[in-house]
């Protein structure tokens, strides 16, 4: 199996995965690479778009109530408008993208890519992305019967617009990977002219 996760210059995320499957598989067998929530996952959430800092207390409370009722408020997330300089307009967004690999039947059974994305969104601030991914593997695929080898890569992106449009936006990226197999082959690059860095994770 091969896969990729990407964050573009505007903080938008995407992921993908492709696989030839298991050797000697039954014709017609489908692995995790084709299955929704198992092979790859990507999602973005806008926050604070066009909102002006310094809004009234009542308006702030209404917004918080709405976010809680929609179940959208994330642990550790404060929202860009609260962190922005007074009086500035902000347009923040965060995204998460995941790609998985492993024994397709096990990875699919626990919706590993969606599970991993949820874990990262909930706990990346505390454990880092790789730590959150390890927790996700422990709570999901490692509870399935062996062989349950699996691997996962994930990128978490946070974009915040600068105060003035001509200053562009700032995109913060955190990458992580975890696996419960003999090894996981990973490469990444994040600088315009840097050579991709390759790791065979033991």
């Amino acid at each position: 199996t091969v896969g990729a996760v990407v964050v573009d210059g505007r903080g938008h995320v995407a992921s993908g995965v492709s696989s030839g499957g298991i050797a000697l598989k039954q014709e017609g067998r489908v692995g995790e690479a084709a299955l929704y929530g198992a092979g790859c996952w990507a999602e973005e959430e806008e926050g604070g778009a066009g909102e002006e800092e310094g809004a009234g207390e009542e308006e702030q409370q209404q917004r918080e109530t709405k976010e809680k009722s929609e179940g959208r408020r994330l642990r550790g997330e404060t929202g860009a408008s609260e962190a922005a300089p007074l009086g500035s307009k902000t347009n923040s967004m965060h995204g998460v993208a995941v790609s998985t690999t492993g024994v397709g039947e096990r990875v699919a059974a626990c919706l590993l890519s969606k599970t991993a994305a949820d874990a990262v969104r909930a706990a990346a601030g505390d454990q880092g992305v790789s730590g959150a991914l390890r927790s996700a593997l422990r709570r999901s695929v490692l509870k399935t019967p062996p062989p349950n080898d699996a691997g996962v890569i994930c990128v978490l992106a946070q974009r915040s617009e600068r105060a003035h449009p001509d200053q562009g936006c700032e995109v913060k990226v955190e990458f992580g990977a975890a696996h419960c197999s003999h090894s996981l082959a990973v490469a990444h690059c994040g600088a315009p002219r840097a050579e991709p860095s390759v790791h065979f994770m033991p």
Partner: protein
């Protein structure tokens, strides 16, 4: 302002295979970077990165895929953008780059159909191959061509090894230890 990461699978990567896999991974990163530099989207960058890996015979995807019990190749692929745009192909034979078919499916879901008809997000098997060929993607014209498109000498050798194990008089896997170089092929 961008970031790209790719993987070539969890499993066993022998020392001898690592240089080839590393080369493929670097090429995939560069393909994605080129796409982004030229103004492409994150979804296009993912698609192009994975296409490079599918074309590399050292990876278990596209060309170089594991063979089925009957010696054919069937591939799975999917893509997803942060906007929840999703596309997938399943157990599909004879599409050179399955991820391109998945990506095209994903993009087409954004185009409305008349009368409220819903576009598919996943196509499987022969139907997916025919659909891809109709859309101008590189695809085999027949089942026979499809069987040959992704087959590599290494995959055929491994298929023969596994078949020999199955044909063992005991008819069981027990006691059989595969060489290191073949262990990774057991997984997706």
């Amino acid at each position: 302002g961008y970031f790209i990461a790719v993987h070539a699978g969890a499993g066993f990567h022998s020392k001898s295979s690592q240089p080839k896999v590393a080369r493929a991974l670097r090429a995939a990163c560069r393909a994605a970077r080129k796409t982004l530099r030229e103004g492409g989207t994150a979804l296009q960058a993912v698609t192009n990165a994975i296409s490079v890996l599918e074309d590399d015979p050292s990876c278990n995807a596209g060309r170089g895929s594991n063979l089925t019990f009957n010696g054919s190749v069937e591939c799975d692929a999917s893509v997803m953008a942060g906007t929840a745009c999703y596309g997938a192909v399943a157990a599909v034979p004879g599409i050179r780059n399955p991820v391109k078919a998945a990506s095209l499916l994903a993009r087409e879901t954004l185009e409305p159909l008349p009368c409220g008809l819903i576009r598919p997000t996943m196509l499987a098997g022969e139907g997916a191959r025919v659909w891809a060929a109709q859309r101008g993607l590189e695809a085999a014209e027949s089942r026979e061509q499809a069987a040959q498109m992704h087959s590599t000498p290494r995959a055929v050798r491994q298929w023969q090894t596994f078949q020999a194990i199955l044909a063992d008089a005991t008819g069981e896997y027990s006691g059989v230890v595969l060489p290191d170089s073949q262990q990774q092929r057991l997984f997706d």
